[in-house]
Point group: C2
């Protein structure tokens, strides 16, 4: 029988497990309490002010039922705001707060450091190749998860 550790799915889980641990350690050491998921959401809100929750979810490939809780926590921490949209009364427009911007700015070195640490076993060239292969695999499988990556609609 094939060893679990030779299965792509198992390696995927393990890589993600280490990536999250490294992120939390680096960000925690820097004095911040933000998860990888919360960071990605906050950075994307900053880059696209006023976007709604479904669009945000699509940009970072989160499930729409997951994003609700993530935003709840960002709002609760005072890093983001949720407002009713004037154009569509079903939608909520998301904004980053000044506190959120400050946090993002100060947290960036720790986030970058985490990305380096999680690839520390590879040479620079190998790291790029890993990124390329992951991109390619993910692009081919994008529609296979309930929460695929989506572009901005205009």
């Amino acid at each position: 029988m094939r060893d679990n550790n030779d299965m792509p799915g198992h390696l995927a889980r393990r890589f993600q497990q280490i990536a999250v641990a490294v992120f939390l350690a680096e960000v925690g050491d820097a004095g911040f309490d933000l998860t990888p998921v919360q960071y990605a959401a906050l950075a994307t809100i900053k880059a696209n002010p006023g976007l709604d929750q479904v669009t945000l979810a699509g940009l970072i490939a989160y499930d729409r039922t997951t994003i609700t809780g993530v935003i709840d926590r960002l709002v609760q921490k005072g890093l983001a705001e949720r407002r009713a949209s004037s154009r569509d009364r079903r939608a909520r427009e998301l904004e980053i707060t000044d506190e959120g911007k400050r946090t993002l700015r100060k947290i960036t070195p720790a986030v970058d450091s985490a990305q380096r640490i999680m690839l520390r076993g590879l040479s620079a060239k190998e790291g790029e190749e890993l990124m390329r292969l992951l991109h390619k695999t993910i692009a081919a499988g994008n529609e296979l998860s309930r929460a695929p990556l989506r572009d901005m609609q205009a």
Copy 2:
């Protein structure tokens, strides 16, 4: 600012997300109700009859607090058994049931198929290279997560 989609951590999360979705779809289509985590645990119990929970957790890099619930569900489904150890009264010895063995045997084609599908964007050579790079990265980061991979002790 760097795009989320260019960060190793984000690619790790996305690859894992797709891997799980593909696994559940293939296994579900084959008529089984087993998660990737439950499958890995069950296969490892079969390969190492009588092992205790901490050893099992080490072999597949699960946290010891996570493995409790996973085994609960395997036992509840009648696929595994948990017995008190005679040598160490703290420990529980794990065994696979006949039903568990039958399930593993019949589920294998779906599991293999899932591993192929999640790499379908890559050539055979690229797939092998991805596996090699993931192995290398994971080995270098093994001790960075709370639940590192461990060998069998003797």
